[in-house]
């Protein structure tokens, strides 16, 4: 009974050609999932329904935000769910108030929908929502798909639009005595997912690591922290430099962390970590190196994906039935034969082949026409990047030199009588511990190599010759 009802509600017309373009953002999907999980964990007995907010520009509808709504079950009306109008109106106003830039409005609602389509149960709320927005869409979440997921399955979501359609096959004009019976029909709408930059980064943050929502025992907690470090998610502990140790499963900050004794020491004994493994070769990576590696890793994954997709296409083409490729069979015959062959040959389809041909033809478009201009720009970018790296290295060297100066002055001050007379003109060595050496004099007298970047030379040679503290500081020229 129910199934027939569901199919009845789906339009008899083919897939929607109303021209509505739907763009779905990831947040509503996660919000629905959150509602569902929370519902299960708290024994929620009501309906899983909510409103969708987005922008509607003519034919383009974006779905960017969602919020759960309070629904009441009308017992006397056959047990269907309806929105609490007062509550809904208030919540919608609140949402509109805080979503001003960009301005979002109600574009539809979501509910759990069986795979076969919306049922009569969905009608009352749909009517209520449509009263606010005529072209409201229904986002149906198919929970059964999640129960038995197939790899490579798309999202278990279908978006329906509703239309009033004339009932029955008969489409002729009726006169006023027998008015055409208009009923509500749903039609599937194709949709695309789009993700903004910030959304993408947020999703990546959430996706990384196997951090699950298990309640804490100390082990689970530290395990999550370990995964966090393993995946190098940005964590502020606000206590100076620390090194993220990349061990799989075991947690330890490198105890020799150079944070001047302020570092947070989280030495979990490895015995408490059932998955503690042999020391990781990445143990000495600095944070910037690990970040760079993470970027490389994600690039690598993306390339792997690209490669697998391409090989999928090539495998498809390679395994087309040979009779077909030689042009001896029509597509129809070939596809029947291929199906009959039980997986040995792929099924040729004109549609797919046309797509592939356009793909090949488009390869040409990838390389731009203006090669010279492109190369110049790439060089400029590369130069900028290298310059910044150079500056960064320079500053690090400068601070190291300062350290060296400090240490040497500390040494000098313990040897009475050395005074300021040593070669190189160390200034201002008074009774107080003046740790700021005035290197300016020595710079002037030092034989800096001409041309190029004298600073770098000087700094470089200083670093090379850092044998003992005192001696090294006397040798500025090589």
């Amino acid at each position: 009974m129910h199934q027939e009802g569901a199919n009845e509600l789906l339009s008899a017309q083919k897939s929607s050609d109303s021209g509505l373009q739907i763009i779905l953002h990831p947040l509503p999907i996660l919000e629905i999932s959150d509602f569902i999980t929370r519902g299960y964990q708290r024994n929620f007995k009501g309906a899983v329904v909510g409103g969708l907010l987005g922008q509607q520009n003519g034919r383009d509808i974006t779905i960017e935000h969602s919020f759960s709504v309070k629904s009441v079950k009308e017992e006397d009306d056959g047990g269907v769910y309806e929105l609490d109008q007062e509550w809904f109106r208030q919540r919608l106003d609140q949402m509109k108030l805080v979503h001003k830039s960009p301005e979002l409005d109600l574009v539809g609602w979501y509910a759990l929908v069986p795979k076969s389509g919306p049922t009569v149960q969905h009608l009352p709320i749909h009517r209520q929502i449509s009263a606010v927005n005529e072209s409201a869409v229904l986002l149906g979440f198919h929970l059964e798909n999640m129960l038995s997921p197939m790899p490579g399955d798309p999202l278990p979501i279908t978006i329906y639009e509703s239309n009033m359609e004339a009932e029955g096959e008969d489409k002729e004009m009726k006169d006023s005595e027998n008015p055409t019976n208009m009923v509500l029909r749903f039609r599937k709408l194709p949709y695309a997912t789009e993700t903004g930059e910030a959304e993408m980064i947020g999703m990546q943050f959430i996706r990384e690591g196997a951090a699950n929502a298990s309640a804490d025992d100390a082990q689970a907690e530290t395990k999550n922290i370990a995964e966090q470090f393993e995946q190098k998610i940005a964590v502020t502990d606000g206590k100076g430099k620390r090194r993220a140790v990349m061990t799989s499963g075991s947690v330890s900050k490198n105890p020799a962390s150079p944070s001047k004794g302020k570092g947070k020491e989280k030495d979990e004994p490895s015995s408490s970590e059932p998955q503690a493994q042999a020391p990781n070769p990445d143990i000495n990576l600095t944070r910037s190196d690990s970040e760079y590696m993470a970027a490389l890793q994600s690039k690598f994954n993306a390339i792997k994906m690209l490669k697998s997709r391409i090989s999928l296409i090539t495998t498809y083409l390679q395994r087309l039935p040979p009779a077909f490729t030689e042009g001896k069979q029509t597509t129809q015959e070939a596809s029947d034969a291929a199906r009959a062959s039980g997986g040995q040959y792929t099924i040729p389809s004109n549609n797919i082949l046309r797509h592939i041909q356009s793909l090949v033809a488009n390869i040409d478009l990838v390389t731009p026409a203006e090669q010279a201009a492109l190369r110049k720009e790439m060089l400029q970018e590369a130069n900028d990047v290298k310059l910044i790296s150079l500056i960064s290295d320079l500053l690090t060297s400068v601070s190291e030199v300062k350290e060296a100066g400090k240490k040497s002055s500390a040494l000098e001050s313990t040897k009475p009588g050395k005074g300021p007379s040593g070669g190189g003109g160390f200034g201002g060595q008074g009774g107080d511990n003046n740790v700021d050496y005035d290197f300016t004099g020595s710079f002037d007298t030092a034989q800096l190599r001409g041309g190029g970047l004298p600073e770098f030379e000087a700094v470089g040679s200083m670093q090379q010759e850092f044998s003992g503290p005192s001696e090294a500081l006397f040798n500025f020229s090589d």
Binding site: Q41, S101, M146, M203, E221, V385, L395, D438
Partner: protein
């Protein structure tokens, strides 16, 4: 409409944080009542150590911060407390903007807050408010003077946490820039805090905000930020992820982050100049470039010029911080360059390769052409 009866979509163990009653059994005190013994955070200012954020809350906060552009935005978070961890299950916006200059920003939103929360109760969301979040577009995750005051007031009402998001650095760095903080009570001096305090850590703070940052850095501490997700979320994320690899390959981070990187460098340049001191750069022009003098000025720590009054030790720490900041920018730029080079090597020269018939391209197009007829 209703949840189908099944236990395959969720796991009591793995999704435990989504249940509320789990955390208020009789032996655990509910977080907003009781005497001092049941509120250990009253006695220990450093009691709370971690914050765990749900995917929905995180995404909402990041999106809200981003949508504010260069204006600070603000909102509240709902959740509960589990021993020494805050669990944030949801977040919602407040209709206030530009919060950094007004202390009473939250006062304006009180009415909205009350109405929103009562609405939540009616749809049986039992969580309490556990904190507030706001954004610092482009200047890092730390608490300003006003934020510290606001958080102190908040903490009087119960266990609360303050979260700060920086949407600009998030997008520039490709990582969510987020921090969680709690303030110390008055007259509490946290042990072992140096001159630089705890707020900024290894994140750089722009020149214009340095004073505000430094003045209050010792009044609060940072908590660990973690995320969690449900088993259902995992499955959905995998399904979504198949669509994202295209963006990773096709994107050009150097281009998208050019503005931000330039502003970072300009800011760092200003910091170096300030560090060196005004007088030094002009004087010593003997025999060489002003660069040399500036460099020596750097090394000598700025002589008698603009002293930062934190002593010599402070100077060298400042220098290190500057060096670290430039290092960070350099890393991001390097990663961007790598992305561009990868793109070049994969897609560059495709036309030539296709013409040469490499990788069986010829046979493929032949097949397709034949069928087209």
């Amino acid at each position: 409409m209703e949840l189908p009866l099944t236990d395959k979509l969720t796991s009591h163990h793995l999704d435990a944080l989504y249940s509320y009653t789990h955390f208020t059994p009789s032996n655990q005190p509910p977080s907003h009542s009781g005497d001092h013994a049941s509120k250990p955070w009253v006695l220990d200012p450093h009691y709370f150590k971690t914050v765990r954020i749900s995917p929905v809350a995180l995404l909402k906060m990041v999106m809200h911060a981003r949508s504010g552009g260069s204006l600070e935005v603000m909102g509240m978070m709902q959740g509960f407390v589990d021993r020494s961890t805050f669990v944030v299950t949801d977040a919602f916006r407040l209709p206030v903007e530009g919060t950094e200059t007004r202390v009473n920003a939250q006062g304006e939103a009180d009415e909205y807050l009350v109405q929103y929360l009562s609405g939540c109760r009616e749809e049986s969301r039992q969580e309490n408010v556990v904190g507030w979040y706001h954004s610092h577009p482009g200047y890092g995750c730390w608490l300003s003077g006003i934020d510290v005051e606001t958080q102190k007031l908040q903490q009087l009402q119960g266990p609360m946490v303050a979260i700060v998001v920086d949407p600009d650095r998030t997008v520039a760095g490709g990582k969510v820039d987020i921090g969680a903080f709690r303030t110390y009570p008055e007259n509490y001096s946290p042990p072992g805090v140096g001159a630089t305090g705890t707020g900024g850590g290894d994140k750089s703070v722009p020149l214009g905000k340095m004073e505000d940052f430094g003045a209050h850095a010792s009044k609060y501490y940072a908590l660990e930020v973690e995320h969690f997700k449900s088993t259902l979320d995992n499955k959905l994320l995998d399904a979504l992820w198949n669509k994202y690899w295209v963006g990773t390959l096709a994107g050009n981070p150097l281009l998208t982050n050019r503005d931000f990187a330039s502003s970072q460098m300009r800011d760092l340049g200003g910091k170096v100049r300030e560090f060196v001191g005004p007088g030094v750069a002009g004087d010593r022009l003997s025999g060489g470039s002003a660069r040399r003098a500036a460099l020596s000025g750097l090394v000598s720590g700025g002589g008698g010029g603009s002293s930062s009054s934190s002593g010599h030790k402070g100077k060298s720490q400042e220098l290190e911080k500057i060096a670290r900041d430039v290092g960070q920018v350099a890393v991001k730029e390097r990663a961007g360059l790598m992305a561009a080079e990868v793109k070049e090597s994969i897609f560059g020269g495709l036309r030539e390769r296709a013409k040469m018939g490499g990788c069986g391209g010829v046979s493929m197009s032949e097949v397709v052409r034949k069928e087209g007829r």
